[in-house]
C-alpha cells in the first residue's frame, strides 16, 4: 500500500531539516512510541505500542534514516516485530522544498504488515496506516511550527500538548 501527502510547514527548510534528524523529535512524532535511542548513523532502536483492530502489540525494532541528501530529502524506514501479533514495516521518502513562508514537505510512504495483524486486521490496515502517517506528520508539523494561539489542543489533553507545540522551534530559536 502506498500513501502520499504534502504539508506546508511554517518554518525554514533548515529548521525542518534539523528537526527531522533529531531523535527527540522522532520519538515525539512516532505515534505510540515508548522509547527511541540511537543515532542517525546507527539507526534508532524503538519500542512502539499500537492497536490494530483487535490486535494490540508492542513492536520493537529499528528505525533508520537513509538516502540522506542534506537539506533536501531522506528516507525514514522502520521495521518492528510484535511477537505473536506479527510484524509491521514501512518507509517514507520525504523531501523538502522552500516555499513562501516556509517549507513544503512531501512524503510517499509504504507500509506492509504480516502475521496475525494481516490475518485479522487486513480490512482496516489501509486506513490505519494512513492515520499513522497523518499523525506522524501532523505531530512533526506541530513540533516545528510556532503554536497558533487560536488552536485548541486535540483529544490527548490540552496542557501537555500545548507545551509540546513549538517546543523544538523555541529550543532552536532561544
Amino acid at each position: 500500500m502506498k500513501l502520499s501527502d504534502t504539508r506546508d510547514i511554517k518554518a525554514t527548510p533548515g529548521e525542518v531539516w534539523t528537526a527531522i534528524l533529531n531523535p527527540e523529535v522522532l520519538k515525539e512524532c512516532i505515534p505510540g512510541c515508548e522509547s527511541l535511542s540511537g543515532s542517525v548513523a546507527e539507526g534508532y532502536e524503538a519500542v512502539v505500542k499500537q492497536k490494530v483492530g483487535p490486535v494490540s502489540a508492542t513492536f520493537t525494532g529499528l528505525v533508520q534514516l537513509s538516502d540522506i541528501v542534506e537539506g533536501k530529502s531522506l528516507k525514514i524506514s522502520g521495521e518492528g516485530k510484535g511477537g505473536v501479533a506479527g510484524f509491521a514495516k514501512g518507509g517514507a521518502d520525504v523531501s523538502f522544498e522552500p516555499i513562501e513562508g516556509g517549507t513544503r514537505l512531501t512524503y510517499v510512504a509504504e507500509a506492509s504488515v504480516g502475521g496475525k495483524i494481516a490475518q485479522l486486521g487486513s480490512r482496516i490496515i489501509d486506513s490505519f496506516a494512513k492515520k499513522l502517517a497523518d499523525e506522524f506528520f501532523t505531530r512533526f508539523q506541530e513540533a516545528v511550527e510556532e503554536p497558533e494561539p487560536a488552536e485548541v489542543a486535540g483529544e490527548e489533553g490540552a496542557g501537555p500538548e500545548e507545551q509540546k507545540k513549538g517546543w523544538f522551534k523555541r529550543l532552536l530559536g532561544g
Partner: protein
C-alpha cells in the same frame, strides 16, 4: 410403507445422542496425567531464510521443558506425497522434502520452524513468543501468483526446483494431436477462462494431537484429529519417524468434521510424538483457529482455460483444458492426485464426447499446501465443464436443457469407456435430468421470473448435470494412475458370545453417520436388531486396517467389506447350524436371523449359533474352530459413478449485486440408498458448501504472501440465510454393478454439482435482465463482483 429398520430405513443417527448432548469425546477433551503443552513458532513471512534461532532465553523461561527446531528433524524422513505423477515428457514430478519443522527456509505464513513444550499452555505460548523474537528470518520475495511463479526462474519456493513447477501433466498425452485436430475442425469453439477459488476447509473442530510414549514398552500412541488413522500411522511410522508400525497406535476419537483437511498427516503429529519420547510424558497440541486458517490444507485454487468445440446445434465434439493448479509450499499427501486423476479423468462429464485433452501444470507457491477438499478435483472439472456448456448455449442461442439431453450418455451405452480413462458402469442421466426439471417446475419459470421482477429482482435458472468418480478406489487402477498405496478397506465382524456384535471398520466417521448406517446393514444382513450392533472405528489397535474416509468411499468400499465379513459369518454359522441340527450344510438356509433346515421347521436362531460358537459343547470341533469373528478386506473392481442434475434459481438485485439462492433442486442417482435421511443430510451439507464456494468463500493472499482472510471477519462461511430449503431427490437409482450393496456414495455430490448451477443461474438472471455482455463471473459471485460485471 417405508421401512423402520435395516437397509433403506431413515434411522435417526445414534451418534447424534452424544453429539447433541455434549458427550462427544474429541482429542482436546482428553486430559492425560502429566501432560505438557506444545506451541509452534510459525513464520510470519511467506518466504524467508532462517538465519538463526537462539533458544537460550526461551529455554530458561518458567515451565519450559523442551525446544525443537528443524535441526532436530533434519535426519528423519519427510512427509511424502501419496501419488507419483509424471510430466508429459515422462519425467517424474518434483518432490521436495516436507520436514516436520521447517529447516533452512520457511515457505508460507504459518510454516512452523520451531516448537516449545512447557508445563502449561500459557508458559509454552510465552516462550514461543520469546523464541520468535530471538529468531532471525531474512524475508525473501514471496511467490504468490502462479503465472509469475512459473515465469520467474530466479525466485524459487524450493531452491532445487527452478521453475516452481511440480509437474506438467497431459491426459491423455497420446490423444493430444487428435483433440487439437478435432478442435480445429469444429464448426464452433467456445473459450472460457476461469478461476476455481481457493477455499479454507474450516472444520468445526480445529486439528489437535496428543503424543504419548511408554519408555517401559517402547510403545507410542498418537491421538489425533484424523479421517484416516491407519494411513497416518503408516506415514508417521514408515516415512517420517521410523517407528515400527506395531509400536505405534493411532487413535482418532470423535472428530468434528474434516472435508478432506484431516485426511493428511501433518508435522504437528510427528512433533508431539517425538516430544513425548524425549520427555517421557504426554505432549498435546490443539490448533487455534488462526492456525487452522494458516496451516490446514486448503482446497481448489485452479486457474483454467477451457475450450469446447461443437456443432452449431450444440453437439460437443472436443474439450481441451489448460490449468494451473496451486499446490502451495509443500506437497500434501493427496495434492498431486487431486488436480490430476481426480480432475482430468472427469473432464468428459456425463457426456458423449469423442475428444478430450487435459493439461495441468502444478505450481509451488509461498502459500499453505493445497489438497483434496470435499469433491477434490471433481468440483473443478464439473465447474469448468458446466460453465463452458452454459456459455456455448448462450453463444449459439440454444436451450441448456436440450443441449444436455442431446449430449448425455444414454442408458444403453453402458458400460462406457470415456476418452479420459474411466469406464462408467451404469447410469441414467436422462432420468435425473427429467426428475430435476419436474421438481423445479421449469415450465413455470417465466411466471416466477415475472413475480421476481415485480419485486425488483432479476430471476435466473441454472443447470448442472454432474458426474463424479468416487468410492475410491480399485487398487489396480489407482496403482496404474500413480498411487503409492492401495485403496481397499477392511472390517471385522465380531459376534460376541451373547449374540450381540462389535463391528470394527476401517472407515472413520467424523460426521457421516457410519455408526448408524453400518449398523443398519449388519442388522439387516444378520436379522438382528440394530441396537445389538456396535460400530467401532478410529483406533488402529482395534481395527484390522483402513484407508480412511474420503472420496465418498466409506459405504462403497468399507461398507462392502462389512458385508463380505458378514457373508463369512453366515457361512460359518451354517456349518455350526448343520452340526447342531444334524443336517447337511448345503441344506441350511439363513433368513431373518434364523438358520433353518430347508423344507423343515428345524431351526436355530442367530443367538443360539453364536452361543454355541463360544460354548462349544455340541460343536464340530474336529473340523471347525470355535468363536464367531470374521474379517474381510474389500478392493472394488472400479470406481463408482454417482451422477445427477441440479437446478438452481437465484434472484439478483441489480442495484446492489446481491445474489439470493431462492430454490435448489437436486435429483441424484446414488444407486441404492441405505439411509435416506443420512443421504439427504449429506446432500444438504455438500450443496451448502457448494453455495458457499459459489457466493461467499474466498481465500486472499496479498502480494507478500500474507493471508488476508485469516479469520471469520474476512472469510465468510455460508450461513443459514445464504441457503434455501433444499429440494432433494434420490429416487432415480441405477445400482452400482460391481459392489454387492449397489451403492455409489453421496458425500461429495452436493459440493461437486452445485457451484456451476449457482453461477449459471446468476449469468442467466443477468442475461434476462439485459446484461448480455456478462459472459462469466468468477466465484465467489459476491455483490461487488456482480455489480462490477453489470456496470462494466
Amino acid at each position: 410403507m417405508p421401512k423402520d429398520h435395516g437397509i433403506g430405513a431413515p434411522m435417526k443417527r445414534r451418534e447424534d445422542v452424544r453429539f447433541l448432548t455434549g458427550r462427544g469425546v474429541y482429542t482436546d477433551d482428553l486430559a492425560l496425567h502429566g501432560q505438557a503443552a506444545a506451541v509452534f513458532v510459525r513464520s510470519t513471512v511467506a518466504h524467508g531464510r532462517i538465519k538463526s534461532i537462539n533458544p537460550t532465553k526461551a529455554a530458561a523461561m518458567p515451565g519450559v521443558l523442551a525446544i525443537f527446531t528443524g535441526e532436530d528433524f533434519k535426519d528423519v524422513g519427510g512427509n511424502p506425497a501419496g501419488w507419483l505423477i509424471n510430466s508429459r515428457d515422462g519425467t517424474p514430478m518434483r518432490e521436495p522434502k516436507r520436514p516436520v519443522l521447517a529447516h533452512g527456509k520457511v515457505r508460507h505464513v504459518g510454516d512452523a520452524y520451531a516448537a516449545v513444550i512447557a508445563e502449561t499452555l500459557s508458559q509454552a505460548k510465552d516462550a514461543a513468543e520469546q523464541l520468535a523474537d530471538d529468531s532471525v528470518i531474512e524475508e525473501l520475495p514471496a511467490i504468490v501468483d502462479m503465472k509469475a511463479a512459473v515465469a520467474d526462474a530466479t525466485n524459487r519456493v524450493h531452491d532445487e526446483i527452478p521453475d516452481n513447477l511440480c509437474f506438467d501433466w497431459g491426459w491423455i498425452e497420446d490423444n493430444r494431436a487428435a483433440v487439437d485436430a478435432a478442435m480445429k475442425a469444429a464448426p464452433h469453439v467456445v473459450t472460457l477462462n476461469l478461476v476455481n477459488n481457493r477455499l479454507v476447509p474450516n472444520a468445526m473442530e480445529p486439528r489437535a494431537s496428543i503424543g504419548e510414549y511408554n519408555p517401559g514398552t517402547g510403545d507410542y500412541k498418537l491421538t489425533t484429529t484424523s479421517q484416516n488413522p491407519h494411513l497416518t500411522r503408516l506415514l508417521v511410522a514408515a516415512f517420517v519417524l521410523g517407528i515400527p508400525e506395531n509400536k505405534l497406535t493411532v487413535v482418532a476419537p470423535d472428530v468434528g468434521g474434516g472435508f478432506g483437511s484431516k485426511i493428511y498427516h501433518y508435522g504437528e503429529e510427528a512433533l508431539v510424538l517425538a516430544a513425548a519420547k524425549k520427555l517421557g510424558r504426554p505432549v498435546r497440541w490443539t490448533a487455534e483457529r488462526s492456525e487452522s486458517f494458516l496451516t490446514d490444507a486448503h482446497g481448489r485454487d485452479h486457474v483454467t482455460k477451457i475450450e469446447l468445440g461443437c456443432t452449431k446445434d450444440g453437439q460437443i465434439l472436443a474439450i481441451r483444458t489448460e490449468t494451473l493448479a496451486n499446490v502451495g509450499a509443500y506437497l500434501s499427501n493427496f495434492s498431486t492426485a487431486t488436480p490430476t486423476f481426480l480432475h482430468g479423468t472427469l473432464m468428459a462429464g456425463p457426456y458423449k464426447v469423442p475428444h478430450v485433452y487435459v493439461n495441468v501444470k502444478t505450481v509451488f507457491t509461498n502459500t499453505a499446501p493445497v489438497d483434496a477438499y470435499r469433491g477434490a478435483g471433481r468440483p473443478e472439472a464439473t465447474f469448468s465443464l458446466e460453465r463452458v456448456i452454459d456459455k456455448m448455449c448462450r453463444e449459439l442461442n440454444l436451450d441448456p436443457f436440450e443441449v444436455r439431453r442431446k449430449n448425455l450418455l444414454t442408458p444403453d451405452q453402458f458400460p462406457y469407456t470415456t476418452p479420459v480413462g474411466l469406464v462408467y458402469d451404469t447410469g441414467n442421466y436422462q432420468a435425473t435430468l427429467d426428475r430435476a426439471m419436474a421438481m423445479a417446475d421449469v415450465a413455470g419459470f417465466d411466471k416466477r421470473a415475472a413475480a421476481s421482477k415485480a419485486r425488483g429482482k432479476l430471476r435466473g435458472m441454472g443447470l448442472s448435470t454432474w458426474i463424479e468418480a468416487c468410492g475410491i478406489a480399485p487398487s489396480h487402477l489407482v496403482g496404474i494412475l500413480g498411487s503409492r498405496v492401495g485403496l481397499y478397506d477392511a472390517a471385522t465382524v465380531r459376534v460376541n458370545a451373547t449374540g450381540n456384535l462389535s463391528v470394527m471398520v476401517g472407515a472413520h466417521s467424523h460426521g457421516q453417520g457410519h455408526e448408524t448406517v453400518f449398523a443398519q446393514i449388519v442388522a439387516e444382513k444378520l436379522g438382528v436388531p440394530e441396537s445389538s450392533v456396535e460400530i467401532v472405528h478410529g483406533d488402529t489397535s482395534k481395527i484390522p486396517f483402513g484407508m480412511g474416509s474420503y472420496g465418498s468411499r466409506s459405504l462403497a468400499v468399507c461398507g462392502v467389506a462389512v458385508t463380505k465379513a458378514i457373508d463369512k459369518i453366515v457361512a460359518k454359522g451354517k456349518k455350526i447350524a448343520a452340526h447342531m441340527l444334524e443336517a447337511s450344510e448345503g441344506d441350511i438356509t439363513f433368513e431373518d436371523g434364523k438358520f433353518s433346515v430347508a423344507g423343515t421347521d428345524k431351526a436355530k436362531t442367530f443367538g443360539e449359533i453364536a452361543f454355541s460358537a463360544y460354548v462349544p459343547h455340541n460343536y464340530p470341533l474336529e473340523t471347525l474352530e470355535p468363536g464367531l469373528e470374521e474379517t474381510a478386506f474389500y478392493d472394488p473392481a472400479n470406481f463408482t459413478y454417482p451422477a445427477g442434475a441440479y437446478i438452481c434459481e437465484v434472484e439478483v438485485d441489480e442495484g446492489t449485486g446481491k445474489v439470493d439462492v431462492v430454490a435448489f433442486h437436486c435429483a441424484d442417482d446414488f444407486g441404492n440408498v441405505m439411509n435416506p435421511m443420512v443421504v439427504e443430510g449429506q446432500v444438504h451439507g455438500g450443496v451448502g458448501q457448494g453455495i458457499g464456494q459459489a457466493l461467499c468463500e474466498f481465500t486472499a493472499y496479498d502480494e507478500n504472501g500474507q493471508l488476508l482472510t485469516g479469520s471469520y471477519m474476512d472469510y465468510p462461511m455460508p450461513r443459514a440465510e445464504d441457503v434455501p430449503f433444499y429440494n432433494v431427490d434420490y429416487s432415480c437409482q441405477t445400482p452400482c454393478t460391481h459392489n454387492p450393496l449397489g451403492v455409489k456414495g453421496c458425500g461429495e455430490a452436493g459440493a461437486i454439482g452445485s457451484p456451476p448451477a449457482v453461477v449459471n443461474a446468476v449469468i442467466d438472471a443477468l442475461h434476462r435482465g439485459g446484461h448480455a455482455h456478462v459472459t462469466h463471473i468468477d466465484m465467489p459471485v459476491s455483490p461487488s463482483r456482480v455489480w462490477q460485471a453489470v456496470n462494466g
